[in-house]
Symmetry: D2
Amino acid sequence: MKIRIFITGGTFDKEYNELTGTLFFKDSHLSEMLKLGRCRLRLEIRTLMMIDSLEMTDADRMIIVENCKSAPEDRIVVTHGTDTMVETAGFLARHVTGKTIVLTGAMIPYKFGSSDGMFNLGSSLAFVQTLPSGIYISMNGKCFPWDSVKKDKRIGEFIETG
Amino acid sequence: MKIRIFITGGTFDKEYNELTGTLFFKDSHLSEMLKLGRCRLRLEIRTLMMIDSLEMTDADRMIIVENCKSAPEDRIVVTHGTDTMVETAGFLARHVTGKTIVLTGAMIPYKFGSSDGMFNLGSSLAFVQTLPSGIYISMNGKCFPWDSVKKDKRIGEFIETG
Amino acid sequence: MKIRIFITGGTFDKEYNELTGTLFFKDSHLSEMLKLGRCRLRLEIRTLMMIDSLEMTDADRMIIVENCKSAPEDRIVVTHGTDTMVETAGFLARHVTGKTIVLTGAMIPYKFGSSDGMFNLGSSLAFVQTLPSGIYISMNGKCFPWDSVKKDKRIGEFIETG
Amino acid sequence: MKIRIFITGGTFDKEYNELTGTLFFKDSHLSEMLKLGRCRLRLEIRTLMMIDSLEMTDADRMIIVENCKSAPEDRIVVTHGTDTMVETAGFLARHVTGKTIVLTGAMIPYKFGSSDGMFNLGSSLAFVQTLPSGIYISMNGKCFPWDSVKKDKRIGEFIETG
């Protein structure tokens, strides 16, 4: 079984620009993270965009949709900023069927010593191997179907909805 | 759903004694790792022993068996040294039925900046939620049934056996 | 010999707010850094302010001056943002005499895995013990008298001026 | 001013062998540490040996002596295991004159997330630039003349004697 990973940016991949003192995106750290995690799954990794999810438009989301559809793999992990992750999951649910797609992200950038990125990456790659087709969000060790989850911005966690 | 975690030691929890320059076990870092991973699963954590798996005897394994049997939870993660993880998995398979038990570990101690521990912890907690009852080993992003895996000691990875 | 450390903020102490995705100041990490460095010098540490040095006014600088003057110690380290460190050094030179004052900072926040903070802290505490009275900047392993240094903002380093 | 650094091993450069679960020496991390510290001093770095200081013989010490003597630089930092650092300092004092030589080390390996190595490296490079000729030990933020220091092995710190 081969798994596809699509990278879209988000906190996962934010870096600190020491000359300006601001946060920015450069390259994805996903390959480095998978190496540190000693992951030996068969993976195809592709960066679709490298943006803050607050800036993600429906045109961007359609790019993710098209790539999920045309990928030969049926099991796909999408790394994504947490702020609009639920919105993108709903968008994917309306356009893609017959595939297991797991969205995940991080609250702390990998480069800032985050371990929630490593933890979430491990979880999402496990969920994507075992769950039936559908669109899911994997955060905080849990896996939520796309239509029963929201981000609680006050505490920075994902919780089940009614 | 509540998940049980049993801690038995292994590389996961090794520390460096700066006075003697040797490796040793003190306390488990599992709670700290779960906090860093921002894990919000309902967990019951219990330390059964804190040993190098090369020193684990069948009496030790019977302690793990008894605890897995008597735990009210049906989904159990066991942290374990990698050297005899497969042996313990087989021992559990002969004595415990009707529960999903996932053994996991690390190649690099958490305290030495390991990220494979965080990654494996994320994976094993996801697998334990989704797999049917049985005994499994979760390493390198994969999940192996207990009777079709071995550790390749030359490369430090777990591989599928015929 | 007792050494005084005055904390004024700067990149050294920036943190990442995971709820908003922005950088901010909370508490100083200096005590934690000194503990990690296994520093056993006799130190008196006091936080004077916790600001970005771009926002430092002459009124703020006068607070630093007054504290340097009234401190019983003759050897003082000031942690400071790098952007206006040279300006503050000149301000101190015009108002304080008879003391050895070393300004230092970091290009990467301590919380983001920075090691230049630890390195600069080690350097500045060594320089303050050995140099004659005067105002100095300790960065990049070097120690510059206040009137012969500038920050090269293009490369983020301090260099000697004619 | 150019500074010479001689590497002899010690805890500084210990690594963890994940296949055997033991500690060993491979390459020095000094260049990486200097880069992280954003050090811009003019340095000449040379590895003389890569050993635990408990195994250092007088023949090894004579190699350090000869290299200190023949080096064109008058200011030299020697990285060294802490267990026999004081002994080597005394050996150097009997054989080398007219140079400023600072021995330093670490209690925790750099690869295990140690920050005392970064701190000590910063201190020792500052002390070597400012102290008169002589043999010194730089640990715990302090600088001790070679003949008035010992390692307190119970607490892992260097303290003044006499």
